[in-house]
Amino acid sequence: MAISVKATLAPLAYVTSSGVLALTAAALEVGDVSVRFGGVVALDGVSLTVDRHEIVGIIGPNGAGKTTLFNAVCRLIAPAGGTISYAGRSLLREKASRLPHLGIARTLQGLGLWPTLTVLENVIAGSPQRTRLFADMLASPASDTRAQTTEGHAMSALGELGIADRARVYPGSLPHGVQKRVVIARALTAQPSLLLLDEPASGLSSAEVEELIVLLRELRTRMGIALVEHHVDMVMAVSDRVTVLNLGRVIASGTPAEIRANTDVSTAYLGQPVAHA
């Protein structure tokens, strides 16, 4: 069996289905993925990789297919064709609820916090810890230990985002920027190796965006990050590589500097330049 090993900062080891230890550079590999909604082609042959310890920005105008791509990776929609794998393991047969157990966490556009749960409960709900109904009901010592561990992870995620003191309040009473942090803390409590962030900067002030950039750079030391964002300056500032989608297709991919210089990208965003006489 041929094992392809690509040069990478920190190769990820995994065990294949045949039990062979293999190495791969890319944690997430999306290959030639197409998604159709009836007659509408939402994604058309999109390929993308996200390595560990790198941030890949995904930008594009509205309707480009950015969130659809995340939804396909997260198994919320089934692609019409193509491959999606994580650490060498195909995700196409996995249920959406399995992904956090495989190390993939995601945030949604908007907030998606449960208003009737406290901040801490919201974050605990994101923990992929197994639960046991009867042990939990009877508050067995093992169950208590498990609950304490889960709460510990949740508090540590909140602490990392600097909002541990808001653990017991309901998210609706918090400013938008703090709620955004809760959303990221909820994703981090699963201790992911790949984080998919869908518009984390929307609605944030410039100061909060700066703080988010610092946070993402810190997180990059522990995980790969795919970032869908309309805030192009932020994406360019924080990403190692950028992929640009337009009308469901990848129109450019490269370093932020390469993307800035790409005329196809400026055309997609700004339209064709007007020829002057």
Partner: protein, 292 residues
């Protein structure tokens, strides 16, 4: 005054049975946005199972536990086999489906167990207790009815508020898509919710049968009263369901005691209309916030 006390005790006892049904309806509504019109018929059917095994020599309490277990299983199977396939269809599909299940169970029960009215044994005496020669207006069975429903309610409260699995059930009920992304097995949580609701219904069936007797439609009125209680409570609120159902129990007891038992269903509808006209969201109803 004596009559008032008797009707009050009756109202509380019946109200607790309605509360069990109301709570079951609210649990399912919160989890799947479906009114389970078959809740009463499911309870009737599991009570028949208890009746059948007890008739065939099984000790009463074992029959009681078997009926509760049958409720759990029936709830889980209903969600998994019947409700899940219509989950993404228009709401009317699920309504028709639960109505179909109601008709099916009420037709199946007489085929399996006979259509005649059966008396179902009460686990405790239904004769009013006395203390030092003073009559107390309630029996051991009344205490058992109120106590057992309260016990199950406390257990459910602990489950939902104090355990991670309860937290996940609440999360899955409120926003399944986010729950899935966060690794919550939403389908399993919904199955568990339906199973627990049917367990509550089964308990209500076992508690109602000694009073109402057992026949294929014996829980139809209980479902209507429980539903009224749930609507009065706001349909979203478990506490509201219990308070609403207790209110219905008391009101019906007073109406039927002071005005005549034929007027009881009318009384229930009048309360429902009054609450919906004055406070359409119900007493404990709240506006749901949803992220768009």
């Amino acid at each position: 005054m004596r009559a008032f006390l008797i009707y009050t005790v009756d109202g509380v006892t019946n109200g607790m049975v309605y509360a069990a049904v109301a709570l079951a309806l609210v649990m399912i509504w919160r989890a799947t946005r479906i009114i389970n019109y078959a809740q009463g018929a499911m309870a009737m059917f599991t009570t028949y199972i208890a009746f059948f095994v007890i008739e065939h020599g099984t000790p009463f309490w074992l029959g009681f536990v078997i009926a509760l277990a049958a409720g759990l299983a029936l709830g889980a199977v209903t969600e998994r086999v019947l409700v899940r396939p219509v989950e993404s269809r228009p709401a009317l599909s699920a309504v028709i489906l639960t109505l179909g299940l109601l008709i099916f169970l009420e037709a199946l029960a007489p085929m399996l167990f006979g259509a005649q009215v059966q008396s179902f044994p009460a686990p405790f005496s239904r004769i009013d207790l006395t203390a030092g020669g003073t009559q107390l207006y309630f029996s051991r069975f009344d205490i058992f009815t109120v106590g057992s429903v309260l016990c199950v309610m406390v257990l459910l409260f602990v489950l939902f508020q104090r355990t991670t699995i309860g937290l996940r059930m609440r999360a899955a009920a409120f926003n399944p898509e986010i729950a899935r992304i966060l690794g919550i097995r939403v389908g399993r949580m919904l199955t568990l919710g339906w199973a627990l609701a049917a367990l509550l219904g089964a308990l209500a069936g076992l508690l109602a049968a000694p009073v109402l007797f057992l026949y294929p439609t014996n829980m139809d009125e209980v479902l209507v009263f429980g539903f009224t209680g749930a609507i009065i409570g706001g349909l979203e609120s478990p506490v509201g369901a219990v308070v609403g159902a207790l209110g219905v129990g008391l009101a019906l007891s007073y109406v039927s005691g002071f005005l005549g038992s034929d007027l009881a269903p009318l009384g229930s509808l009048l309360i429902l209309m009054a609450v919906l006209m004055i406070r359409p969201r119900g007493l404990f109803g709240m506006t749901r916030q949803r992220q768009v």
